[in-house]
């Protein structure tokens, strides 16, 4: 990237003790552009508290997936710092990235697919497989350990993908529209499932979605990309009580929050129409 050399890159993954104990992810002054294009992010600041479930909602083409790829360390920012809780400088990233497609390896069983992150981290194979086996029942995957991905339904495959990210990452998980390819009924059951699993593990989750209901149902906070390039994210605190179920979407408070969120998004869509697609 030509842009990388122009400005000094100051990406580092600081020690945990240098962060406030409550921070799960801190992004400061993030700037990124694809070569020869307008910047997607310009001086973006973002902070996610530890143990929070935060969703990002934005119109398509705003660069949500690019943001995730930056956070996951797959792209290098032009400038800015990204600090994930629990990260140690010079060591591998401790972010559990869950891509949109399940990306399960067809040559590995459920057990070995889920264990890949541990395996790459140097955990002995037997130990990695044992830890996966322990987790399967609570994720609703009991008895599937010897199955191959093509033998599973779309929802089950996403569960395996989630487990893989859960085991690979430390405190922070990035979920990139994981349920967008599922049919409506399966999606609802997967949302319920994610709520239950999250209640148990309480990882810090950053979740991308197009689905406003999904964002509100799952999150403590919804972030809305308010401009292009994204310089800041508008925040909406979702103060619905937990534990939640799909019934929560019928709540009056839910409807109120949804109206507010639609309002925020509406301004953006009308704003974005004038700009480049």
């Amino acid at each position: 990237m030509a842009g990388v050399n122009r400005q000094q890159v100051t990406v580092e993954r600081a020690r945990e003790e240098s962060l406030p104990a409550s921070a799960g992810l801190t992004v400061q002054g993030l700037t990124y552009r694809f070569e020869g294009e307008e910047p997607l992010f310009d001086g973006l600041d973002l902070e996610v508290l530890k143990g929070q479930f935060v969703s990002i909602v934005a119109a398509s083409g705003m660069g949500k997936t690019t943001l995730f790829r930056l956070l996951a360390g797959l792209l290098q920012p032009e400038s800015g710092t990204i600090t994930a809780a629990g990260a140690v400088p010079g060591q591998r990233s401790t972010i559990g990235y869950m891509p949109q497609r399940d990306c399960l390896m067809p040559w590995r069983t459920v057990q070995d697919n889920a264990a890949i992150g541990l395996e790459l981290a140097g955990v002995p194979k037997r130990e990695a497989r044992r830890r996966v086996l322990e987790m399967l029942p609570e994720l609703g995957l009991a008895g599937t350990e010897a199955k191959y991905p093509h033998e599973l339904s779309g929802g089950m495959r996403q569960r395996v993908s989630f487990l893989r990210s859960l085991l690979a990452g430390g405190e922070l998980m990035l979920l990139d529209e994981p349920f967008s390819a599922l049919d409506a009924m399966t999606r609802i059951s997967m949302q319920q499932w994610l709520l239950e699993v999250w209640e148990v593990h309480r990882k810090t989750i950053l979740f991308i979605t197009h689905d406003i209901d999904e964002a509100l149902l799952l999150s403590d906070q919804v972030l809305v990309a308010a401009s292009r390039p994204i310089t800041q994210l508008e925040s909406l605190v979702v103060d619905l009580p937990r534990p939640r179920t799909y019934e929560t979407t019928l709540d009056e408070r839910f409807a109120y929050l949804k109206r507010r969120l639609l309002g925020q998004l509406g301004r953006i869509t009308s704003h974005a129409e004038g700009g480049p697609a």
Binding site: G73, M105, G117, L120, A121
Partner: protein
């Protein structure tokens, strides 16, 4: 039982062809040097069983050695092509273009280089079988799902880990496609190598028999050569099933 049911049509068809062969040659009184009777071919097989066995073993050995070298060279070339974009731009098109050279015309050169011993036979087999293995494997590496690679990278996978846990398993199906093609044509390579100059092997045997107009012996040799080709193909297929059996076909 299921296997028998699956293979029954082809077995019956072969039986029908054999019957037609025997009957046709008797009915129309075809001279033995044009098409010998099947019964004569079988008799030739039995009468010269020991001799044919010796020749068969040598040709099979040449084909297997050639295949083994092709697997090594082919896979190494594929790795090279995949790991260097310069190699993909230079070596890969060269390998593809090399297929326009008639291998049969090239084969005498192998005799000049490697003599009349087994070396020239092996090299002709390599000429035949290198291409399908190298190109299929290189294509397999290239077709590896990039998103899976990125995911593993996000989990901290290094180059070696990516190669072992992503590239190789991804390329295996294509590699086996290449191996099966190579196995089927390797016998042809070995036979041609023997024709160009050799003392023994089924290629030499059939050529000598043809010179003496011994139709039954020629057909016996050809029958064995085609059986060898089928056996090598089936063996490659069995290895493939063993390695990939659990994946979706």
């Amino acid at each position: 039982m299921k296997l028998l049911k699956d293979k029954l049509p082809i077995l019956l068809f072969i039986l029908l062809l054999a019957g037609g062969w025997e009957l046709g040659t008797r009915l129309f009184d075809v001279p033995a040097y044009i098409i010998p009777r099947l019964s004569d071919v079988c008799a030739a097989l039995l009468n010269h069983a020991a001799l044919l066995g010796k020749h068969f073993a040598l040709t099979l050995w040449e084909a297997l050695l050639g295949l083994a070298f092709s697997v090594v060279f082919g896979v190494l070339s594929a790795i090279w092509i995949d790991s260097s974009s310069l190699a993909r731009k230079t070596i890969y098109p060269l390998i593809v273009a090399s297929q326009t050279i008639p291998i049969i015309a090239l084969s005498p050169i192998m005799v000049m280089w490697f003599g009349y011993e087994i070396g020239s036979k092996i090299s002709v087999v390599i000429l035949f079988t290198f291409f399908p293995i190298a190109v299929n494997t290189a294509d397999g590496f290239r077709a590896a799902d990039r998103e899976i690679g990125e995911l593993l990278r996000s989990m901290g996978a290094g180059k070696t880990q990516l190669f072992l846990k992503w590239k190789i398993p991804s390329a295996l199906p294509s590699f086996f496609t290449g191996l099966k093609m190579a196995a089927a044509i390797s016998v042809g390579g070995a036979t041609l190598g023997e024709w160009l100059g050799g003392e023994s092997g089924l290629g030499v045997y059939t050529k000598r028999a043809a010179n003496m107009l011994r139709g039954d012996d020629v057909f016996a040799g050809v029958l064995l050569l085609s059986l060898m080709g089928i056996a090598l193909f089936v063996a490659a297929q069995m290895i493939e099933r063993l390695v990939l059996g659990h994946r979706r076909s």
